[in-house]
Amino acid sequence: MIKPIFLFTVLLIVTLASGLQAAPVYVDKPTAEASDLMKQYVMSSVAERVEVLHRLEVLSTKHPDNVNVRRMYANLLVSDRKYDSAISQYEMLNKKNPRPVLLLPECMLKERVGKKDKGCYQSVIAIAEEKNILDSDYLTALYFADDQRFLAEKEKLINADKMTKAELAVFSLSRDRILYTLYP
Protein backbone atom coordinates (compact mmCIF):
# COMPACT_ATOMS: atom_id res chain seq x y z
CA MET A 1 0.00 0.00 0.00
CA ILE A 2 1.27 3.47 -0.91
CA LYS A 3 1.80 5.59 2.17
CA PRO A 4 0.00 8.99 2.25
CA ILE A 5 3.29 10.78 3.01
CA PHE A 6 4.80 9.34 -0.20
CA LEU A 7 1.80 10.49 -2.25
CA PHE A 8 2.01 13.93 -0.67
CA THR A 9 5.73 14.18 -1.52
CA VAL A 10 5.11 13.17 -5.15
CA LEU A 11 2.28 15.71 -5.47
CA LEU A 12 4.46 18.42 -3.93
CA ILE A 13 7.31 17.72 -6.36
CA VAL A 14 4.96 17.70 -9.36
CA THR A 15 3.35 20.98 -8.22
CA LEU A 16 6.72 22.64 -7.67
CA ALA A 17 8.06 21.39 -10.99
CA SER A 18 5.07 22.69 -12.93
CA GLY A 19 5.31 25.99 -11.07
CA LEU A 20 8.99 26.29 -11.91
CA GLN A 21 8.26 25.66 -15.58
CA ALA A 22 5.72 28.47 -15.70
CA ALA A 23 7.81 30.94 -13.72
CA PRO A 24 9.92 33.51 -15.56
CA VAL A 25 13.38 32.18 -16.28
CA TYR A 26 15.19 35.48 -16.64
CA VAL A 27 18.63 35.75 -15.10
CA ASP A 28 17.60 38.36 -12.51
CA LYS A 29 14.68 40.50 -11.38
CA PRO A 30 15.68 43.71 -13.25
CA THR A 31 15.97 41.70 -16.49
CA ALA A 32 12.48 40.29 -15.88
CA GLU A 33 11.11 43.80 -15.17
CA ALA A 34 12.76 45.25 -18.29
CA SER A 35 11.40 42.35 -20.38
CA ASP A 36 7.92 43.06 -19.08
CA LEU A 37 8.28 46.76 -19.97
CA MET A 38 9.42 45.85 -23.48
CA LYS A 39 6.32 43.76 -24.03
CA GLN A 40 4.18 46.63 -22.70
CA TYR A 41 5.91 49.10 -25.01
CA VAL A 42 5.24 47.07 -28.14
CA MET A 43 1.53 46.79 -27.47
CA SER A 44 1.06 50.36 -26.17
CA SER A 45 -0.30 53.37 -27.99
CA VAL A 46 2.10 56.15 -28.99
CA ALA A 47 1.08 58.21 -25.92
CA GLU A 48 1.56 55.29 -23.50
CA ARG A 49 4.97 54.46 -24.94
CA VAL A 50 6.47 57.66 -23.48
CA GLU A 51 5.64 56.47 -19.95
CA VAL A 52 6.89 52.91 -20.57
CA LEU A 53 10.16 54.21 -22.00
CA HIS A 54 10.59 56.49 -18.99
CA ARG A 55 10.09 53.57 -16.60
CA LEU A 56 12.75 51.60 -18.47
CA GLU A 57 15.10 54.58 -18.25
CA VAL A 58 14.55 54.72 -14.47
CA LEU A 59 15.22 50.98 -14.24
CA SER A 60 18.50 51.29 -16.18
CA THR A 61 19.58 54.20 -13.95
CA LYS A 62 18.78 52.11 -10.88
CA HIS A 63 20.82 49.17 -12.23
CA PRO A 64 23.62 50.85 -14.18
CA ASP A 65 25.72 47.69 -14.49
CA ASN A 66 22.93 45.43 -15.68
CA VAL A 67 23.79 44.84 -19.35
CA ASN A 68 20.44 43.23 -20.14
CA VAL A 69 18.44 46.18 -18.85
CA ARG A 70 20.58 48.76 -20.66
CA ARG A 71 20.53 46.70 -23.87
CA MET A 72 16.72 46.58 -23.77
CA TYR A 73 16.56 50.30 -23.03
CA ALA A 74 18.86 51.04 -26.00
CA ASN A 75 16.71 48.71 -28.13
CA LEU A 76 13.53 50.64 -27.32
CA LEU A 77 15.22 54.00 -27.87
CA VAL A 78 15.99 52.83 -31.42
CA SER A 79 12.37 51.68 -31.85
CA ASP A 80 11.30 55.14 -30.67
CA ARG A 81 13.69 56.70 -33.23
CA LYS A 82 15.70 58.44 -30.50
CA TYR A 83 18.91 57.56 -32.29
CA ASP A 84 21.28 59.95 -30.48
CA SER A 85 20.14 58.72 -27.06
CA ALA A 86 20.43 55.11 -28.25
CA ILE A 87 24.01 55.73 -29.40
CA SER A 88 24.90 57.00 -25.89
CA GLN A 89 23.48 53.82 -24.35
CA TYR A 90 25.36 51.59 -26.81
CA GLU A 91 28.57 53.51 -26.09
CA MET A 92 28.12 52.76 -22.38
CA LEU A 93 27.45 49.09 -23.15
CA ASN A 94 30.53 48.81 -25.36
CA LYS A 95 32.91 50.76 -23.12
CA LYS A 96 33.95 47.87 -20.86
CA ASN A 97 33.40 44.75 -22.87
CA PRO A 98 32.64 45.44 -26.55
CA ARG A 99 30.92 42.62 -28.41
CA PRO A 100 30.13 42.62 -32.16
CA VAL A 101 26.43 42.08 -31.46
CA LEU A 102 26.18 45.39 -29.53
CA LEU A 103 28.95 47.31 -31.24
CA LEU A 104 27.54 46.89 -34.75
CA PRO A 105 24.24 48.74 -33.98
CA GLU A 106 26.33 51.56 -32.47
CA CYS A 107 28.36 51.86 -35.71
CA MET A 108 25.29 51.72 -37.95
CA LEU A 109 23.35 54.24 -35.87
CA LYS A 110 26.30 56.64 -35.96
CA GLU A 111 26.37 56.38 -39.74
CA ARG A 112 22.58 56.82 -39.87
CA VAL A 113 22.78 60.13 -37.98
CA GLY A 114 25.61 61.35 -40.22
CA LYS A 115 28.54 60.55 -37.93
CA LYS A 116 30.04 57.67 -39.91
CA ASP A 117 32.92 56.05 -38.01
CA LYS A 118 34.84 53.55 -40.14
CA GLY A 119 36.99 52.68 -37.14
CA CYS A 120 33.87 51.48 -35.34
CA TYR A 121 33.21 48.84 -38.03
CA GLN A 122 36.89 47.90 -38.02
CA SER A 123 36.63 47.27 -34.26
CA VAL A 124 33.70 44.91 -34.87
CA ILE A 125 35.78 43.03 -37.46
CA ALA A 126 38.82 42.83 -35.15
CA ILE A 127 36.81 41.52 -32.18
CA ALA A 128 34.93 39.02 -34.34
CA GLU A 129 38.18 37.69 -35.82
CA GLU A 130 39.83 37.53 -32.42
CA LYS A 131 36.91 35.53 -31.00
CA ASN A 132 36.44 33.62 -34.25
CA ILE A 133 32.76 34.68 -34.51
CA LEU A 134 32.46 34.78 -38.29
CA ASP A 135 28.72 35.36 -38.66
CA SER A 136 26.20 37.84 -40.04
CA ASP A 137 27.47 40.69 -37.84
CA TYR A 138 31.04 40.09 -39.01
CA LEU A 139 29.96 40.12 -42.64
CA THR A 140 27.83 43.23 -42.10
CA ALA A 141 30.80 45.04 -40.57
CA LEU A 142 33.00 44.04 -43.54
CA TYR A 143 30.33 45.35 -45.91
CA PHE A 144 29.93 48.69 -44.14
CA ALA A 145 33.69 49.12 -43.66
CA ASP A 146 34.16 48.67 -47.45
CA ASP A 147 36.60 45.92 -46.56
CA GLN A 148 38.02 44.16 -49.62
CA ARG A 149 37.62 40.77 -47.93
CA PHE A 150 33.82 41.05 -47.93
CA LEU A 151 33.10 39.04 -51.08
CA ALA A 152 35.60 36.30 -50.24
CA GLU A 153 34.26 35.96 -46.67
CA LYS A 154 30.70 35.87 -47.98
CA GLU A 155 31.59 33.01 -50.33
CA LYS A 156 33.34 31.19 -47.49
CA LEU A 157 30.20 31.33 -45.32
CA ILE A 158 28.05 30.05 -48.20
CA ASN A 159 30.48 27.27 -49.14
CA ALA A 160 30.75 26.18 -45.52
CA ASP A 161 26.92 25.94 -45.40
CA LYS A 162 26.86 28.42 -42.54
CA MET A 163 24.57 30.73 -44.51
CA THR A 164 22.55 30.56 -47.68
CA LYS A 165 22.64 32.84 -50.71
CA ALA A 166 19.07 33.88 -49.88
CA GLU A 167 20.05 34.96 -46.37
CA LEU A 168 22.92 37.04 -47.72
CA ALA A 169 20.88 38.61 -50.56
CA VAL A 170 20.45 41.64 -48.31
CA PHE A 171 24.00 42.68 -49.19
CA SER A 172 22.97 43.32 -52.78
CA LEU A 173 21.21 46.44 -51.46
CA SER A 174 22.97 49.78 -51.10
CA ARG A 175 24.24 50.80 -47.65
CA ASP A 176 21.77 53.71 -47.54
CA ARG A 177 18.84 51.46 -48.40
CA ILE A 178 19.82 49.10 -45.58
CA LEU A 179 20.42 51.91 -43.07
CA TYR A 180 17.19 53.74 -43.82
CA THR A 181 15.15 50.52 -43.72
CA LEU A 182 16.60 49.48 -40.37
CA TYR A 183 16.50 52.97 -38.89
CA PRO A 184 13.69 54.88 -40.63
Binding site: V25, Y26, V78, S79, V101, M108, D135, S136, E167
Partner: protein
Protein backbone atom coordinates in the same frame (compact mmCIF):
# COMPACT_ATOMS: atom_id res chain seq x y z
CA UNK B 1 3.91 42.12 -51.46
CA UNK B 2 1.88 39.25 -52.92
CA UNK B 3 -1.90 39.13 -53.17
CA UNK B 4 -4.35 36.25 -53.69
CA UNK B 5 -8.02 36.97 -54.19
CA UNK B 6 -11.45 35.29 -54.08
CA UNK B 7 -14.73 37.16 -54.50
CA UNK B 8 -18.46 36.91 -55.10
CA UNK B 9 -21.08 39.70 -55.15
CA UNK B 10 -20.78 40.97 -51.57
CA UNK B 11 -17.83 39.09 -50.07
CA UNK B 12 -14.17 39.43 -50.98
CA UNK B 13 -11.33 37.40 -49.47
CA UNK B 14 -7.79 38.55 -50.13
CA UNK B 15 -4.47 37.18 -48.98
CA UNK B 16 -1.47 39.46 -48.50
CA UNK B 17 2.15 38.75 -47.74
CA UNK B 18 4.30 41.61 -46.44
CA UNK B 19 7.95 41.29 -45.57
CA UNK B 20 10.86 43.44 -44.49
CA UNK B 21 14.56 43.03 -43.98
CA UNK B 22 15.52 43.66 -40.37
CA UNK B 23 18.44 43.42 -37.99
CA UNK B 24 18.05 41.58 -34.70
CA UNK B 25 20.79 42.27 -32.15
CA UNK B 26 21.16 38.66 -31.05
CA UNK B 27 24.28 36.60 -31.71
CA UNK B 28 23.88 34.42 -34.81
CA UNK B 29 20.91 36.39 -36.13
CA UNK B 30 21.93 39.92 -37.15
CA UNK B 31 20.97 41.25 -40.56
CA UNK B 32 20.97 37.93 -42.42
CA UNK B 33 18.20 36.34 -40.35
CA UNK B 34 16.45 39.18 -38.52
CA UNK B 35 13.94 39.84 -41.31
CA UNK B 36 10.31 38.82 -40.99
CA UNK B 37 7.12 38.47 -42.97
CA UNK B 38 3.44 38.65 -42.18
CA UNK B 39 0.68 36.80 -44.03
CA UNK B 40 -2.76 38.34 -43.79
CA UNK B 41 -6.18 37.07 -44.77
CA UNK B 42 -8.70 39.89 -45.15
CA UNK B 43 -12.35 39.00 -45.58
CA UNK B 44 -14.64 41.92 -46.31
CA UNK B 45 -18.40 41.89 -46.61
CA UNK B 46 -20.33 44.90 -47.82
CA UNK B 47 -23.65 45.72 -46.15
CA UNK B 48 -25.91 48.80 -46.44
CA UNK B 49 -24.29 50.63 -43.50
CA UNK B 50 -20.70 49.88 -44.35
CA UNK B 51 -18.39 46.91 -44.32
CA UNK B 52 -17.71 43.98 -41.98
CA UNK B 53 -14.05 43.02 -41.90
CA UNK B 54 -12.34 39.90 -40.60
CA UNK B 55 -8.54 39.93 -40.50
CA UNK B 56 -6.31 37.04 -39.50
CA UNK B 57 -2.50 36.87 -39.55
CA UNK B 58 0.51 34.64 -39.18
CA UNK B 59 4.16 35.64 -38.88
CA UNK B 60 7.35 34.07 -40.09
CA UNK B 61 11.07 34.62 -39.38
CA UNK B 62 14.26 32.58 -39.22
CA UNK B 63 15.48 34.54 -36.19
CA UNK B 64 14.89 31.91 -33.49
CA UNK B 65 16.35 29.12 -35.65
CA UNK B 66 19.44 31.21 -36.36
CA UNK B 67 19.83 32.11 -32.68
CA UNK B 68 19.59 28.45 -31.74
CA UNK B 69 17.36 29.20 -28.76
CA UNK B 70 14.55 31.48 -27.64
CA UNK B 71 11.11 32.08 -29.05
CA UNK B 72 9.35 34.60 -31.24
CA UNK B 73 6.25 36.43 -30.10
CA UNK B 74 4.57 37.93 -33.15
CA UNK B 75 2.05 40.76 -32.84
CA UNK B 76 -0.22 42.56 -35.28
CA UNK B 77 -2.54 45.56 -35.06
CA UNK B 78 -5.10 46.82 -37.55
CA UNK B 79 -6.18 50.45 -37.65
CA UNK B 80 -9.48 51.39 -39.22
CA UNK B 81 -8.52 54.47 -41.23
CA UNK B 82 -12.15 55.53 -41.46
CA UNK B 83 -12.40 56.28 -37.73
CA UNK B 84 -8.83 55.77 -36.40
CA UNK B 85 -9.72 52.92 -34.04
CA UNK B 86 -7.04 50.31 -33.37
CA UNK B 87 -7.61 46.54 -33.07
CA UNK B 88 -5.08 44.03 -31.73
CA UNK B 89 -5.18 40.60 -33.36
CA UNK B 90 -5.48 37.80 -30.81
CA UNK B 91 -6.62 34.22 -30.46
CA UNK B 92 -10.16 33.61 -29.35
CA UNK B 93 -11.47 30.43 -27.80
CA UNK B 94 -13.02 28.03 -30.30
CA UNK B 95 -11.38 29.63 -33.34
CA UNK B 96 -9.19 27.48 -35.57
CA UNK B 97 -6.63 28.37 -38.21
CA UNK B 98 -4.69 26.60 -40.93
CA UNK B 99 -1.02 27.55 -40.68
CA UNK B 100 2.15 26.48 -42.45
CA UNK B 101 4.98 24.58 -40.79
CA UNK B 102 7.16 27.66 -40.21
CA UNK B 103 4.30 30.06 -39.52
CA UNK B 104 3.59 31.50 -36.09
CA UNK B 105 -0.09 32.11 -35.51
CA UNK B 106 -0.90 35.65 -34.40
CA UNK B 107 -4.71 35.55 -34.36
CA UNK B 108 -7.58 37.54 -35.75
CA UNK B 109 -9.78 40.60 -35.31
CA UNK B 110 -13.23 41.61 -36.46
CA UNK B 111 -14.15 45.19 -37.16
CA UNK B 112 -16.82 47.24 -38.81
CA UNK B 113 -16.12 50.16 -41.14
CA UNK B 114 -19.04 52.57 -41.19
CA UNK B 115 -19.80 53.91 -44.66
CA UNK B 116 -18.36 57.36 -45.37
CA UNK B 117 -19.15 59.17 -48.59
CA UNK B 118 -16.09 59.99 -50.70
CA UNK B 119 -13.82 58.19 -48.26
CA UNK B 120 -12.42 55.00 -49.83
CA UNK B 121 -12.24 52.26 -47.18
CA UNK B 122 -8.77 51.20 -46.06
CA UNK B 123 -6.92 49.82 -43.07
CA UNK B 124 -3.38 50.21 -41.79
CA UNK B 125 -1.60 47.05 -40.70
CA UNK B 126 1.28 47.18 -38.20
CA UNK B 127 3.17 44.05 -37.23
CA UNK B 128 6.43 42.84 -35.76
CA UNK B 129 7.93 40.39 -33.33
CA UNK B 130 9.69 40.17 -29.99
CA UNK B 131 12.53 37.71 -29.51
CA UNK B 132 12.50 36.19 -26.03
CA UNK B 133 15.80 34.58 -25.11
CA UNK B 134 14.23 33.21 -21.95
CA UNK B 135 17.29 34.23 -19.89
CA UNK B 136 18.86 37.52 -20.87
CA UNK B 137 15.57 39.20 -21.73
CA UNK B 138 13.88 40.40 -24.87
CA UNK B 139 14.95 42.03 -28.11
CA UNK B 140 13.01 43.57 -30.96
CA UNK B 141 14.31 43.86 -34.52
CA UNK B 142 15.29 47.08 -36.30
CA UNK B 143 12.91 48.22 -37.73
CA UNK B 144 10.67 47.13 -34.88
CA UNK B 145 7.56 47.02 -37.06
CA UNK B 146 6.37 46.98 -40.62
CA UNK B 147 3.47 49.19 -41.55
CA UNK B 148 1.31 48.84 -44.66
CA UNK B 149 -1.92 50.35 -45.94
CA UNK B 150 -4.47 47.90 -47.37
CA UNK B 151 -7.04 49.45 -49.67
CA UNK B 152 -10.40 47.70 -49.59
CA UNK B 153 -13.25 47.20 -52.04
CA UNK B 154 -15.42 50.35 -52.28
CA UNK B 155 -18.47 50.56 -50.03
CA UNK B 156 -21.76 49.27 -51.43
CA UNK B 157 -23.26 51.57 -54.13
CA UNK B 158 -20.01 53.53 -54.44
CA UNK B 159 -17.96 53.39 -57.65
Amino acid sequence: MTIRKFSNNSTVIKGFNFSTLAHLGVEGVGLANGGFSISLIVKEENVEEGKHLYVSATGRSNAAKAAGNGSLLFWCKVINLTDGREYVLDRRKGESFAVGFDDVLIGSAMLFLAKKINHPPSIQVKAGYIFDSGYTGLATPFPSELSKIVRLKPFKDEP
